[in-house]
């Protein structure tokens, strides 16, 4: 059978077979193979941290990754930017009737490889099948569990005027790569998603300096929205410098053609960091040492307490950056 059918989701024999042949085959480990209603976890040390995300990316294979890689990176990264060491993921699959089983295998293989790289185990899973026309090929939920060591205390850090805003590389690559791979726009480019695991990089950042105030990953909504959330939550003014924003030329090109602002395009492998001014250089250097941080740049700083994000334009003007409001769709003007 080359295709997922509704019978693969009915809890019966075919489903068990699918789980054994694909999920256990690629992702199997001592915990997952308990095969019970729930999985017992070994004892953990440190403060527990959890996060959940569902992934509904379209297309499910894109330049630089696929939904499987994305689903692991996304949740591992959310743990990582909270200072946690990621340990376990659960894997909830919603398959659409008609999905080719070969595609599912490629995706689960990708889940397994990325999990291995991140050092996390798939602890539990679930597979559902929805009728053809009620899904997107595959949707994936990953929920993560990690631990934070006693030496890390991001929660109580206070962001102050003068703190630097640092990003680990170019912005919007993922969002642009996804848009570029949508047929309707009839575009193509060599652009690939930046989708990557951030846990090693965040560990490096946190060990390089005690001056880290905040870490996040600017995913949905892009850099502007991520910074807006920080500005609102921490009641600070953040000022970016347009001229030093790292944006790849392809991202600019696509933004131009489709009328989309790269500041609102998602990254899936970038850390956004707020660091004390005096520590910024050390942090930048530590980040640049990482293979996925070579493009690290200071892009702005905290300038006040107005709960807003501003961009100083190349010309010296100021733009207020609002959080994303509309769908990212090509516009007439």
């Amino acid at each position: 059978m080359k295709t997922i059918t509704l019978a693969h989701g009915n809890g019966g024999e075919l489903m068990q077979e699918l789980i054994k042949d694909i999920i256990y085959y690629y992702c199997g480990n001592d915990i997952l193979l308990q095969q019970d209603d729930a999985a017992y976890l070994p004892e953990v040390e440190g403060e527990l941290v959890t996060t959940t995300d569902s992934f509904v990316v379209d297309p499910i294979f894109f330049p630089g990754g696929d939904i499987g890689k994305l689903a692991v990176c996304g949740t591992v990264n959310d743990l990582a930017v909270n200072g946690a060491h990621p340990l376990y993921l659960t894997l909830g699959l919603i398959l659409e009737e008609g999905l080719e089983i070969d595609k599912l295998k490629r995706i689960i293989k990708s889940v397994a490889e990325t999990a291995r790289k991140a050092g996390v185990k798939i602890a539990a899973g679930d597979t559902k099948v929805v009728p053809q026309g009620k899904g997107g090929g595959i949707y994936i939920n990953t929920t993560g569990l990690g631990v934070v060591g006693p030496d890390i205390n991001l929660q109580d850090a206070k962001i102050e005027t003068g703190d630097k805003i640092i990003i680990s590389g170019s912005i919007g690559d993922h969002g642009a790569a996804i848009l570029a791979s949508r047929e309707e726009f009839e575009v193509s480019s060599a652009l690939t998603s930046d989708c990557a695991l951030l846990n090693n990089l965040t560990a490096q950042i946190l060990s390089s300096s005690g001056g880290i105030k905040f870490l996040t990953d600017p995913t949905r909504g892009g850099l502007a929205t991520a910074l807006h959330e920080i500005a609102q939550q921490k009641q600070v003014t953040i000022n970016l410098e347009e001229e030093i924003l790292p944006i790849k030329k392809e991202v600019q090109g696509l933004g131009g053609i489709l009328g989309i602002d790269p500041l609102y395009l998602a990254s899936e492998g970038r850390v956004l960091c707020v660091a004390a001014a005096e520590e910024a250089e050390a942090v930048v250097n530590a980040m640049k040492d990482s293979p996925i941080g070579t493009g690290t740049a200071v892009i702005g700083e905290v300038t006040g307490d107005k709960s807003r994000v501003c961009l100083t334009t190349n010309l010296g003007g100021t733009r207020i950056l609002r959080p994303l409001q509309k769908q990212l769709l090509p516009r007439l003007c």
């Binding site: 309707e184 726009f185 001229e243 489709l258 961009l311 100083t312 334009t313 190349n314 010309l315 010296g316 003007g317 100021t318 733009r319 207020i320 609002r322 409001q325 509309k326 769908q327 769709l329 090509p330 516009r331 007439l332 003007c333």
Partner: protein, 374 residues
């Protein structure tokens, strides 16, 4: 470096800005320059230009945002079409959030396959081709830049013998509304930034009346930072010299006669008509409609709009019209910032970040004024 990149070179731009600032301070008294193109408005906003200019300079935002100038009733008609069984409305994404009486196209899109956003009207024709059982109505809005592309979509649909593609017509033309603005007794404009992409189609000629008949300096401008600064500088020079010409500062794209081939296609399909502008009312010859031989592609002829527009009962209380006409400031609208916000806009001026109300709300310096004669 591609030669076009040089138009963005930061160093030259800073010098141009400096020069401009110097010139403005030389001139005493208020100077009002209107950009009539929404894309100019957007570019100006993106570079944060308004606040960099001396306080005696106002950059007025003109009626060049197709969303803002489209009347309320048009949105309602589009929505009522989308709600009809067997009808799919194809539209540029800009229109999705604009509120009608009871709904938006975005909400209709969410209810079923009623609204499809397209990158090009040619895509709408493809959709009609692939869905023969659906009537695909394209929302034909925009100005001369877009009109030839929409004309092309009609020729394409005709070649493909499609009987399920039509336009909901609201195409507009720039020079007539600019003349209307000039004639407005409350409005006092010192110069125009003319729309470069409209001009790429229609050429420089149609703007000559500004200088010849009304003695106003006007510059056809491009959209790079340098283009805008340069164009403003050219206007300033003319103001200082008390000279009125229409200068083409965008010659790499704008020919004196525009694009003859595009004009031909546009004129083959469309002819001039009166058009209704939000806040300005009806303006003679300011719109385009399908010529009689293409009337089979007019949604007006396929549907009974009386019943559709009959539904228009509740008004949103939006003061966009008055804001556009300068009778009210956005802050005078009682809905401003409370019931009407960018996430929940009640009027088109709040829909895009560069809409007059949205811009005002976020305290990007807004100095727009536009008075109506009424």
């Amino acid at each position: 470096m591609n030669y076009l990149e040089q138009f963005r070179a930061a160093k030259i731009n800073s010098k141009l800005l400096e020069k401009l600032q110097q010139e403005f301070t030389v001139v005493k008294g208020k100077i009002k320059i209107m950009e009539v193109c929404g894309t100019h408005t957007q570019a100006i906003s993106k570079i944060g230009l308004r606040e960099l200019l001396p306080s005696n300079v106002e950059l007025l935002t003109g009626p060049g945002c197709p969303i803002c100038v489209t009347p309320f009733s048009y949105i309602d008609t589009a929505i009522s079409l989308a709600q009809q069984e067997g009808v799919m409305v194809a539209t540029f994404a800009d229109f999705l959030k604009v509120p009608g009486s009871n709904s938006t196209l975005e909400l209709e899109q969410a209810q079923g396959p009623n609204v499809k956003t397209v990158y090009s009207p040619l895509d709408a024709v493809k959709i009609a081709e692939n869905n023969p059982e659906q009537e695909v109505v394209f929302l034909a809005v925009g100005f001369e830049t877009t009109a030839p592309v929409i004309a092309l979509s009609i020729l394409d649909a005709q070649k493909k013998n499609l009987t399920n593609y039509s336009l909901l017509q609201a195409l507009k033309t720039m020079p007539p509304v600019m003349e209307e603005l000039v004639l407005n007794q409350y409005l006092d404009i010192d110069g125009f930034l003319c729309p470069g992409h409209v001009a790429s189609i229609i050429g420089v000629e149609p703007f000559q009346f500004l200088a010849k008949e009304y003695d106003l300096p006007a510059v056809v401008a491009g959209f790079e930072v340098g283009d805008i600064l340069f164009a403003l500088e050219q206007i300033m020079e003319m103001i200082v010299r008390q000279e009125a010409k229409v200068v083409n500062a965008y010659p790499r794209v704008v020919e004196q006669k525009g694009n003859p081939k595009a004009l031909k296609i546009m004129e083959q399909v469309f002819t001039s008509t009166v058009s209704r502008w939000r806040g300005l009312g009806k303006i003679t010859n300011s719109g385009l409609e399908l010529r009689p031989e293409y009337q089979e592609f007019a949604a007006e002829n396929k549907f009974d709009f009386a019943s559709a527009t009959g539904k228009v009962a509740k008004q949103s209380g939006c003061s966009c019209g008055e804001v556009l006409m300068g009778i009210k400031k956005p802050t005078d609208c009682e809905l401003f910032g409370t019931k009407c916000t960018p996430s929940h806009p009640l009027g088109p001026c709040m829909v895009s970040q560069e809409g007059s109300c949205a811009a005002y709300l976020y305290k990007v310096s807004v100095k727009m004024k536009l008075y109506s004669k009424e």
